[in-house]
Point group: C2
Chain length 219, copies 2
């Protein structure tokens, strides 16, 4: 995945979408944004993914996060395809914009090109990439899944919860963490600082090294 | 995440690990391999992650997959730290090797540098990167999580199941798919081919476009 990565600001590209033309920074505003690409319209995995993204859109909205899709097909194709998506996932409205990228330029600048797949004409196709962008318009986390593996909406919600937690407090989330479970205090926080920062208290794990780095709290 | 990506062969580097020195290709052999890096020994999230990797190692073994960790600390530090990991996750043995990379060279070649974090001395640190490598020694899937978000072992098992399914059959797995659920037939397979390839039958979804691309089967 050469190019755009964690810590980089999303370039302020003008994009054509199923919701009209806009600049990426205007769309993002100061909200968390999930930008996800998919190999092509009228393809099986993508249809299930975009349907579930719509099904989960209330979860993302609750977290103040916007959704933005991308594939290299045109707006008209996207609009026709949305009918299939909504028919396959009944009760779901694809209420987020999908970028049209027929010139395959946006996907390059957003680092969403599949290095391992070509379309039937030999042109590069978008990967199953996903960037979570923070309110500062910087990439916070990226997935790169191959064309054959559909993404997991629950994992996207889980990592968004983690990123939002870490953006508000000096904490990180342990392996397999889910919303509501204890978090760990960042190593950069001293014990004295932690006492002030976390008046609710924290539990320091007693480890063989006797180093006090594994400190759990609830925020 | 510049550098090594999906479709690339893992470079055949000689590495020093908690299980001695070996070359990466010798270690991988013809098995699926999960190579994962972590920011540092004696840090909170990593301790929970490596413990859970050990706890899930039977799941990975069942799927014929090997595990290989990496951080830029030395072997002695890794060995001391393993005592903490095993104390924190009781009943778990860290039975997989952890690469020592004090010169920070391996992590660069494996594309596991965190572009957004530095250690207290200003040196680059490994990211929470993870590559799943196929039996052909090529990268099949990559995650890039920030230091503050621990990974999800269930998602790693899920995507491994998907990759193995797709490697054996001309299928892909839909969004949120789990082992045992129906898969979709790849768009490159014609209906006539599908009838021969999937004698168990398949169900073609009736969609508004009348295009027959969403075909579910069980393999």
């Amino acid at each position: 995945m050469p190019g755009l990565t964690i810590g980089d600001e999303i370039p302020n590209l003008e994009v054509e979408t199923t919701h009209g033309k806009f600049k990426l920074h205007d769309f993002i505003g100061n909200q968390w944004t999930i930008i996800f690409s998919h190999p092509g319209d009228f393809t099986p995995v993508c249809t299930t993914e975009l349907g579930l993204m719509a099904k989960y859109s209330a979860e993302f909205e609750k977290r103040g996060a916007k959704l933005l899709g991308l594939s290299c097909d045109g707006v008209q194709s996207h609009n026709e395809w949305i009918k299939d998506i909504e028919a396959h996932t009944p009760g779901c409205k694809v209420n987020y914009p999908i970028i049209a990228d027929p010139n395959r330029d946006i996907m390059k600048q957003l680092n969403m090109v599949d290095p391992d797949e070509k379309d039937p004409n030999g042109f590069p196709t978008p990967s199953r990439a996903l960037h979570i962008v923070g309110t500062d318009k910087k990439v916070k986390l990226s997935f790169l899944y191959p064309a054959t593996t559909g993404r997991n909406m629950d994992e996207i919600v889980r990592v968004l919860d983690s990123l939002q937690k870490a953006a508000k407090n000096k904490v990180a989330t342990p392996a397999n963490w889910k919303q509501g479970e204890p978090v760990v205090i960042s190593p950069s926080v001293t014990n004295d600082e932690a006492k002030k920062m976390f008046p609710q208290g924290f539990e320091t794990k007693d480890l063989p090294s006797k180093k006090e780095y594994l400190r759990f709290t609830n925020v």
